[in-house]
Symmetry: C2
Subunit: 303 residues, 2 copies
């Protein structure tokens, strides 16, 4: 009998998506089903799609019981908003589900909501409902955020739109998020909105599990191979290449554009966001082979 731990998250999700597939295909409103950063629904609004996303954080896995509640709340909401940014969109309404032990102090819950609301309002979203449920004392708390959002139909960017020859770019710096950034990061909504307003972005996602995990996902969605140039990784100060690739929780944007517009994009970016790096870390290739360039030359990607 295979257990979730034997199969691994990617394969578990893959099997569930396969199970859901036919029902999704029969849904005329559904533009993008499971497998992208958000689901995309066409509600017959003139120029907009609706975006749908849910994400949860678990005590002991995504945060510690001693973490300040307002930071936990910020993180829970910011993770979801980062997924809207990844599609080029904006969040609008959030529903919060809290499952906590009965012994939790009320002040903890209020601080948690304070953090959630701070993040939501900064990005123009409203917490409009939810549910508070209890888990047995001693059990891990779970905070789940479900959200609607929107994006203009002609600015919706999927993971699957990458083309062979595209350059692969990432915003900001990678690695070492666990030292603090994972609790206080700013979802790259403004940057994504600016990108889709001024340039043709072929594919995009947010970096939640680390570039070493997420770039292969984006390339696979786009039915491309990729070349990753480890020499160009924007490693955070004090982090190694391996950490930049594998730590995860960077919540930066990973996107691909035609090489023809890359220089113009980088020049405009430097003026628009002078304090935020933009790095070319590789390219999408025709073949399904995966190649990593590093100081020792290149190697086939084996992770």
């Amino acid at each position: 009998m295979s257990r979730l731990v034997d199969i691994g998250e990617n394969a578990v999700v893959g099997r569930l998506i396969e199970q859901l597939g036919r029902a999704c295909e029969n849904d005329d409103q559904l533009v993008v089903g499971p497998g992208d950063d958000c689901a995309v629904v066409d509600l017959d609004q003139a120029d907009r799609y609706q975006l749908l996303k849910t994400d949860s954080i678990v005590e002991g896995i995504h945060y510690l019981s001693e973490t300040a509640a307002s930071k936990v709340g910020w993180k829970a909401v910011a993770r979801v908003i980062s997924d809207f940014a990844a599609m080029g969109g904006m969040p609008s309404h959030l529903l919060i589900t809290i499952a906590m032990p009965p012994q939790t102090p009320m002040s903890y819950l209020e601080q948690l909501y304070h953090g959630m609301q701070n993040c939501a309002s900064l990005y123009g979203a409203t917490i409009c409902g939810g549910e508070t449920s209890s888990v047995p004392d001693g059990a891990a708390a779970v905070i789940s955020v479900a959200a609607t959002g929107w994006v203009e139909k002609n600015r919706c960017v999927r993971r699957s739109g990458g083309k062979a020859g595209d350059l692969v770019m990432v915003t900001g710096s990678l690695g070492g998020s666990i030292t603090g950034k994972h609790l206080s990061f700013s979802p790259r909504v403004n940057q994504a909105r600016w990108l889709t307003d001024h340039f043709e972005i072929n594919s995009m996602m947010d970096l939640s599990d680390g570039l070493g995990c997420d770039l292969p996902r984006l390339a696979a969605s786009s039915q491309c191979g990729y070349l990753l140039n480890e020499n160009n990784l924007p490693c955070n100060e004090g982090t190694s290449v391996d950490q930049a690739l594998g730590d995860g929780e960077d919540y930066e944007l990973l996107f691909t554009v035609s090489s023809q517009i890359a220089n113009s994009l980088r020049a405009s970016w430097a003026k628009q966001f002078p304090d935020l790096k933009l790095s070319v870390v590789g390219e999408l290739t025709e073949r399904s082979e995966e190649v990593v360039v590093n100081e020792q030359g290149w190697q086939h990607f084996k992770r």
Copy 2:
């Protein structure tokens, strides 16, 4: 320091709603915020509102670890669909969040999704995404369902629309759900749709915590008192009045209508749904006093 267990669910939710209140008031799209069965959003679709709802079930509280996974899945989705019925609406898209220990068998998760999908498709809804996360081994599993739905603007029924003099009606039978119904109930979507299509329904909600808990909530939302006639309760076979009032998980409709249309409604109902009881269990009153009529005469409501 007050803890959630000291304050109680109603007061916890009340305090959080108060905290969220101002942000909700400033949201022009939000027609109904926290406190009703669903949030209601006006997306500028011609004749429709969007409905939003999230709900979760927890292992050891809402179901047992030995319960068949497909039944657990059915229940998780049916609870949410029941909330759409309570507004007179229909579900459309569902996002599923599963937090489970790594040792969970893959077949359990597949059966769980099977049950969820059966329920969703029966009511015209699509599971279009979600997330699978892990909780530490030994921790309780949490299944959270977030959903969008819709209702015609002129058929959206709130808890707060009840008027003094309205008769209070419930569908089906009450009490004893724990013996099986809580895992296999049919959300009253068809009944609610029929009601709002043919009659003016002033207020409505679904019975999740028991009539003794939910009728006071509906009356308070409508700024009314109520009279509850315990002699008229549709108790399930083998259940006492106290069980019918307090067991919860009935997932029946509780609604109020003007006394002038009550007889006509009951006659039409009997033809349309010959196999499902409809009972008049009380009325809304002007005063804030709460009165229960029982075999011993009447008493002020103290629960």
